[in-house]
Point group: C2
Chain length 279, copies 2
């Protein structure tokens, strides 16, 4: 793969890279389409990265529909599919990690200790192997995208990070490879995530500026669902992920909720213009 990339670079070809864990859905396809538009070549990686899963998490049962993924890559004109094995990526004696401090310890980082260290490390490795000009991430994993942007900036990687909007089902549910874990009833209850975010947005539109108050109200809403267990609801600064007391400028409303045994996340970015914030 590194030789192929070297050849493309010498011909001054641009490379767009879509890192994934496979189980491709319309969210991934939106990244492929954007990469296709902006680059000469598109590389997609499929690697269920063991070091970003905790010991009690779903690493072994994470879906791996390889045939279907290959079909989708072909259909959407992905030029190269890179799917390394775990032993190739983490040979015996592996000991180097990339850590983005502070940003990795909040939101999903609180419950998923070491998760973002695993994400930053594997993405750094993939970037070094594939030498992309642009890399594409979904806003669904907002914290991940922000951490990767910070890593690229801090480590002077010559790569542009593109963050694309969340793709949702018609009913509002954000697409995720983990939605497959939900049964019919849970799928219905899972709608409380996008509904809660819509509720928060409406509260802000109607003038509410207290984060505490918004979090309380949407917490009560989600809490009313039988199978839902809230992990966190946070309103934070879009850049440094620090909690905001008052809604202002751009803020990220992010939440993680367990629906039965399935952990789901969702988020929304809310922009408040100056005139609005003086309401």
């Amino acid at each position: 793969m590194q030789e192929i990339v070297r050849g493309l670079k010498l011909k001054n070809k641009t490379i767009g890279f879509v890192p994934t864990m496979g189980a491709l859905h319309e969210g991934h396809l939106s990244l492929i389409r954007k990469a296709r538009k902006e680059n000469d070549f598109v590389v997609l990686s499929i690697f269920v990265n063991p070091i970003q899963f905790g010991p009690t998490e779903d690493f072994s049962r994470y879906p791996r529909p390889m045939k279907q993924d290959i079909h989708l890559c072909r259909k959407h004109n992905v030029d190269f599919l890179f799917y390394p094995g775990a032993k190739l990526m983490y040979p015996l004696g592996f000991k180097t990690y990339v850590v983005v401090e502070q940003l990795s310890d909040v939101l999903c980082g609180t419950a998923r200790c070491g998760h973002f260290r695993g994400v930053a490390t594997v993405v750094a490795k993939l970037f070094n192997i594939l030498q992309p000009d642009r890399a594409y991430f979904g806003r669904k994993d907002a914290q991940q995208a922000i951490i990767i942007q910070k890593m690229v900036e801090d480590l002077n990687m010559p790569i542009r990070i593109r963050v694309m909007p969340i793709v949702r089902h018609r009913n509002g549910l954000a697409l995720s490879s983990r939605n497959i874990y939900l049964n019919e009833k849970e799928r219905q209850e899972a709608l409380c995530l996008p509904q809660a975010l819509k509720f928060a947005k409406d509260l802000i539109k109607s003038g509410e500026r207290s984060s505490q108050c918004i979090i309380k109200k949407i917490g009560e809403f989600i809490g009313s669902k039988k199978t839902a267990r809230i992990e966190y609801i946070s309103i934070v600064d879009l850049k440094n992920l620090k909690p905001l007391e008052k809604i202002a400028d751009k803020c990220l409303i992010a939440l993680a909720v367990r629906i039965g045994k399935t952990r789901l996340i969702d988020n929304i970015v809310v922009k408040v213009t100056k005139s609005q914030s003086h309401q």
Copy 2:
């Protein structure tokens, strides 16, 4: 600098990189000469990296003879001298670090907490900026070279690391930018470092295989010097830096000694062939 590098890469030119903290001496020049031989272009960086110095260390008094360094770069046909400022390398809000676990916590890492995290991070940054084909390090900082090799391997950086032999004064003292701190008497006493390593080598040659015994003997030798204070004397595996009980294969004998207020390091690699180890 990144634009220049991009231009060179497009022309299929190879780049040899010599990272330094300046105060160039014959050791650095040996790296430049090797880089000159093996590459189309040579880039040398001068950056006294604040994040690899502890709060009580010599960051502020570290020698910075910029004019002399520029003169030496010109004289030795360095093509590009890269000397970024600290604010450019670590802007406000910097929070990404590269950590090579285990290897960073032994030898010099014991007393210099966080030192190798600082080294790995700045070298990763410089590699990303300069995209070298080959990078040159001195064996004088043996642990540093081993950590950088491990980082490059683990993170799949497409860079070859070349480690060049220690350059010594005629009297045996390993060249170091920090030798300038020594007064005349200390310069004499500092010879106990290379002498101790020579002593260790001779002990091994004469059949001694117990690390403990060798460490004890050369410790007593250094201890007999008035201004010398031993920080560590270690005999370790050349790859994983783990202590060796018995001398076998390739081992690294490394030591750090304070001569007055100046901390000096030195090391030697000893190879024991099978027939020798059966003596």
